[in-house]
């Protein structure tokens, strides 16, 4: 039997190959990861650990394989963001208001993962209702990034909102994890944690059974340690679902087959508006180096304009809270979760929601309620949706002349826990490079590409045409190869 550290250090695709070759069993792989999840407790990456279920699922997986019935992700242990409903397993969305909620159903994405043979390790921590870029807003406490600055022991944030998923995969406590991305919630934590994070095209993965934040933006996707692993895992998550009316009826391609390594003749756009004031020098340098790597691999680098880029963030901070205020109206203390008694039904609602929601969620519910209220709907909400159309049009025009866009993922490396907490807008600026693709519904990936002067990971970001995940993955694979990112975090779960 292989040592635990060796098993947890495998990539998802490598583990698949070893399982298929009979070198290891799903049970061994699950045992190693159950131990790693336990060893990772100081990070607070998991809200719920499911060791018994993991071992049961692994044994069932070994039995299926013995019968010749192995699925795409057969025997591979994964962590699931605690925004996906899992039948019979506590699902909190990082909120006090969902105390004790054990869903009676399974989200489509997780059901597909289990059907493909994957094994559940546990449910990962996140910003409350996925609202945040630091994982500091979780009712279940902040998550610590397994990375530390060189010579500085202060705990850093893993990014957010999929911060627990990122920390778990970076610390080798899971081979991969699901995330959800509304404005950057997969890609920014991937960049902060030295991982690959892939938000597919809106409509590619079903949202059914995923606790809703902003329905026109939310999209599930994978967080993994390599581009190949992201391709493999997305194959197990994607697909049409009649239960999500925005899910798209298109066949799921073999994403791994897209990783040809050949980008000769591809046109890569560099949107000049992403060069923002105050961008740290190392990020600008890395961005340039990324363009050089792709040019050396045979791609053509083209400067393009996305003139309305600076309006994406303010448009997002109207649209997302508006949708959130509507989606979160369901938390009334009547049907599930926390209930605080009041003298009347309305007082019970107010008390339940007043105690059940944290500060950031309240802020967004109030902003959303305001911009949707009579007299302001047109000036704020409709204006933002018009700007959203203009931003999508910018992308459409850019993609007439290029195949993919290259930008940085985030304007900084991971910051310390507690930083930016007193200024909501400073926190929102984390998503300046990820939000535009979200508004346009486009597929976008973050690839670890280098380290900052403090030894922290930085990511490069590729945006593709709608439903052209394959080109995004192909170019990401070439970037990954050229970057040769091999640094490991200070904390490893063993």
């Amino acid at each position: 039997m292989a040592a635990n550290g060796e098993l947890t250090g495998l990539g998802l695709a490598e583990a698949r190959d070893r399982l298929a070759g009979g070198e290891i069993t799903a049970r061994e792989l699950a045992e190693a990861h159950v131990a790693a999840v336990e060893a990772a407790r100081p990070l607070n990456a998991f809200i719920t650990e499911t060791p018994e279920r993991a071992l049961e699922m692994a044994e069932a997986s070994d039995a299926r394989r013995a019968r010749g019935e192995a699925g795409l992700l057969e025997g591979l242990p994964l962590a699931i963001k605690d925004l996906f409903c899992t039948e019979g397993v506590l699902t909190t969305a990082g909120s006090h208001i969902l105390d004790g909620f054990h869903p009676a159903y399974e989200s489509t994405v997780t059901a597909k993962l289990w059907e493909a043979g994957a094994v559940l390790l546990g449910k990962t921590n996140l910003d409350e209702f996925a609202m945040g870029s630091s994982n500091m807003t979780s009712f279940h406490g902040p998550v610590e990034n397994p990375w530390r600055r060189q010579g500085d022991n202060r705990p850093l944030v893993p990014g957010g909102s999929s911060g627990g998923s990122a920390a778990a995969v970076a610390a080798r406590a899971a081979l991969g994890a699901t995330g959800t991305d509304t404005g950057g919630s997969i890609r920014q934590p991937a960049a902060f944690s030295g991982l690959v994070g892939f938000k597919p095209t809106y409509g590619r993965c079903s949202r059914w059974g995923v606790v809703a934040f902003a329905s026109s933006l939310d999209q599930p996707g994978p967080l993994t340690r390599s581009v190949r692993d992201a391709a493999l895992m997305l194959g197990g998550m994607a697909g049409h679902d009649p239960k999500d009316s925005t899910s798209v009826e298109r066949p799921v391609p073999d994403y791994e087959a897209a990783l040809t390594g050949d980008v000769r003749g591809l046109k890569v756009g560099i949107p000049k508006e992403y060069l923002i004031d105050g961008m740290p020098g190392e990020i600008e340098t890395l961005w340039r180096r990324g363009a050089d790597w792709l040019r050396e691999a045979g791609a053509e680098i083209v400067e393009v304009g996305l003139p309305h880029t600076k309006y994406a963030l303010p448009a997002y901070y109207i649209i997302a809270p508006a949708e959130a205020s509507s989606n979160l109206a369901r938390y009334d203390g009547v049907r599930y979760g926390l209930r605080v008694e009041g003298d009347s039904l309305i007082e019970s609602y107010e008390a339940t929601r007043g105690q059940g929601f944290g500060a950031e969620v309240k802020r967004r519910v109030l902003i959303g309620t305001y911009v949707l209220s009579a007299g302001y709907y047109d000036a704020y909400y409709n204006k933002a949706r018009r700007v959203r159309s203009v931003i999508a049009r910018d992308f459409g025009q850019a993609f007439e002349s290029v195949d993919v866009l290259l930008t940085p993922t985030a304007p900084s490396a991971a910051f310390a826990q507690g930083d930016k907490m007193d200024d909501p807008i400073a926190m929102y600026l984390n998503d300046v490079f990820t939000v535009p693709a979200s508004l346009a519904g486009l597929p976008a990936i973050s690839v670890p590409a280098g380290l900052d002067p403090d030894g922290l990971p930085l990511g490069l970001h590729l945006i593709g045409r709608a439903f052209d995940e394959e080109t995004v993955l192909k170019v990401a694979g070439v970037l990954e190869e050229a970057a040769g990112f091999e640094a490991a975090p200070a904390f490893l779960a063993r």
């Binding site: 009649p242 009316s245 303010p314 901070y317 109207i318 009041g342 309240k362 109030l366 159309s389």
Partner: protein, 96 residues
């Protein structure tokens, strides 16, 4: 646009979220800052541009109006803070 504390309290009532005095004070400043910041959208000429309703051009799918799940009150009520027989229990809504 700046909002005042009364507006914040009114919005909080509309949203059915109870907030305390200190919370209302803090939110007044925060919401005013956020609303100020989003006002830069007025710089964008959106004359003749339709508000986006969906990023993916597709017709709303239709499905058969058919029962797909059996009656399962027990599962539906499984997470209820309070239920009696097959009903959710809430504080009295109508007097008398």
């Amino acid at each position: 646009m700046a909002v005042d504390k009364d507006t914040v309290l009114r919005i909080a009532r509309l949203a059915r979220v109870r907030i305390g005095e200190a919370e209302a004070e803090a939110l007044t400043g925060e919401l005013s800052n956020i609303l100020d910041w989003v006002e830069q959208l007025d710089e964008v000429d959106t004359e003749g541009v339709a508000p986006m309703t969906s990023v993916v051009a597709m017709a709303a799918p239709m499905r058969a109006d058919a029962v797909t799940e059996p009656a399962q009150a027990e599962r539906v009520l499984g997470n209820a803070p309070e239920s009696v027989h097959d009903f959710f229990v809430v504080p009295k809504v109508v007097d008398g």
